[in-house]
Homo-oligomer: 383 residues x 2
């Protein structure tokens, strides 16, 4: 059988077309990159025999350091080994002479951030473990199309392990992305499915459905899935009231198609950056809809007053808080460019005596923080 496997492997590789010809076999048995040692030191390797200068860039480097020089072996393999890294998920890419955003051909794991594909890896042992698939039951992740605002739009829906076999009803967290993101962002870079699977298996979070919408109303979906074609992603979002206006359709669709608990006490809404803005606006526009609100690095004060949705903020907040909110959670990093805006927003809430919970982390406007925030927020809701 082994001989046949090699035979068929060689034949398939040689007939797949010139892109893969001859490469897969030696490469798959060849370089390992990244290699994560038990110490937390990570080694990157790239075969670039004729390059004059190769660097690795990524968020594993100390703040302020943009890239690290790699060292060439006699065989033309460039490598770099990090100091021990904290348990986390990290991105990286290579820079080869004048080229940037060179992906690692030895690492098939990629995430896209706006228009850039980057490799990633996870250092386990502590926080990173919650971002990894573990030996537990996993939930279902479905890409669905739902009618909202008069047209069909794509959403990602996480249902916890056991949902299909169960008859019970579940609470729902609506989780919103930031500018330049889409319905895939929380799943890919946010590790939502792994986080929820792990928190639920450990009994730290309630079993819940998580609905991830697309908050850029000019696009029906993430790039490539709609008739818009294979467009190149760019920084865009919706802050014109259109997304807030269609949100009741989202909730109605989810309530109609999933076994949900159709009441405020069983609904949460949270988002990052522009999604935090959306979560704030939507929760106040529909004060009977959500009992849990999470604002992660939220772009709070970005709504133009001449748009009805964004006008009369204080009047609407008064209505929302008089209706009652079980948890109003505000989280931001101390280096976030939206920090001051969140200070001001808390001052506004304080001036009226509205109750909220504040969480400050270090770091800035980065996915590391948003993964931490969702991991914490998910443990506080529906309890």
């Amino acid at each position: 059988m082994k001989r046949f496997m090699l035979l068929i492997a060689a034949a398939i590789v040689s007939t797949l077309g010139s892109v893969t010809a001859q490469q897969n076999l030696w490469r798959s048995e060849g370089l390992v990159s990244p290699e994560i040692a038990d110490t937390g030191c990570v080694t990157f390797r790239l075969y670039a025999p004729e390059a004059k200068r190769v660097e690795v860039a990524g968020d594993f480097l100390p703040q302020g350091v943009e890239s690290a020089a790699m060292v060439r072996s006699e065989e033309g393999v460039w490598s770099y080994t990090t100091a021990p890294l904290a348990s986390e998920m990290y991105y990286y890419s290579f820079r080869v002479d004048g080229m940037r955003d060179v992906t690692d051909p030895s690492n098939v794991y990629l995430v896209r951030d706006v228009s850039t594909q980057m490799n990633y890896f996870i250092v386990g042992g502590d926080r990173g473990d919650i971002y990894k698939a573990q030996a537990i039951s996993h939930g279902t992740v479905a890409r669905v199309w739902a009618e909202m605002g008069g047209s069909e739009r794509r959403m990602v829906v996480y249902t916890p392990a056991g949902y299909e076999a169960s008859k019970r009803r579940y609470p729902v967290l609506y989780l919103l992305h930031g500018m330049g993101g889409d319905e895939e962002a929380w799943l890919a870079t946010g590790r939502l499915a792994e986080i929820m699977d792990n928190l639920i298996a450990e009994g730290k979070a309630e079993e819940m459905i998580v609905v991830m919408t697309n908050g850029c109303t000019k696009h029906a979906s993430a790039p490539g899935y709609s008739a818009e074609g294979m467009w190149k992603p760019y920084m865009s979002g919706s802050m014109d009231g259109s997304f807030e206006a269609m949100f009741p359709d989202v909730v109605s669709w989810v309530d109609a198609h999933y076994r949900t608990v159709k009441r405020k006490a069983s609904r949460a809404i949270a988002g990052l950056s522009m999604g935090g803005f959306h979560a704030m606006q939507i929760s106040k526009e529909y004060p009977k809809m959500f009992d849990y609100v999470g604002l992660f690095s939220a772009a709070i004060f970005r709504g133009k007053e001449d748009i009805a949705t964004y006008a009369d903020l204080e009047t609407k907040l008064a209505r929302q808080f008089s209706e009652g909110v079980a948890l109003y959670w505000i989280a931001i990093g101390s280096d976030d460019f939206l920090y001051k805006e969140n200070v001001d927003y808390r001052a506004l809430l304080d001036s009226h005596g509205y109750a909220y919970t504040y969480r400050e982390s270090d770091g800035g406007h980065i996915w590391r923080n948003w993964r931490i925030y969702i991991s914490e927020f998910a443990q506080m809701i529906f309890k």
Copy 2:
């Protein structure tokens, strides 16, 4: 609003970490690659100012041509324009001096083939249009975990547009991947969701559920989704009877969790290469289960006789064909390395007078053929 968008974009890019710093903005406004002209000519572009030699490789090149030299502009952008290409989906990657498998930083669309990530693009106008998302309703694509053979394994399930809102029951196509593939392969490289959405919308295929399993029993899932961690994919498969043995569990799980028509006349099984072998074996092992069988470039005669599942082929085929098969469809390319094997298999079927339909295309053991075969097979079943 526009000024704020730029402000927030700049701030986000500058704080996302060093990987993306400064790059996204100019790049997203900069190079377009690939650029597909109305003529079908495609231009690739890569910024590599210090490179001495840049080539593009891919299956868009004439057979036997492995790569094409790109030409450098004064600004350091290398480019290459193809002759008019037939309407199809194509892969490509760059070769920069001694480096291979360099992905295109201007193109976020990637597919993985075993352990290699490659960019892709689709030339529309004819056959390629069926591989593109169109302005129609789309089905749901769910990644589920189902118990089979005593453990939980991951599957991809396509349900047609309207499934959620409907009360009706649907026929099911079980669609199997080849060696080195997994439950993601038909969706990514096979464009299964786009093909089914389009065929159903045009009334050319019946509304059906499509279940894509993982046919490598030593892995619970595609790389990265199970406790096995972020392993590097390699050529592997299962031809030891284990996958065939667990298949009734797959069908039971699907019948229990989806609104299926639970009868032979509403079940089809098809696969490519090793998946064609599996489809042949499974359909004969369970002759009351499937009325439609599709063998695409099937690795027919690869079962060792000392494995019970693969012994007594003729006896089992006799039983299968006496039970009746509505469609037994064999497709292969004239250049396929498994061509002779399929000639021999048809001779065996002919010698017993078993009815089958034969489809021969040009080309070899390639995804272009498998996309064509599934597009044709899907139109013939459940009618």
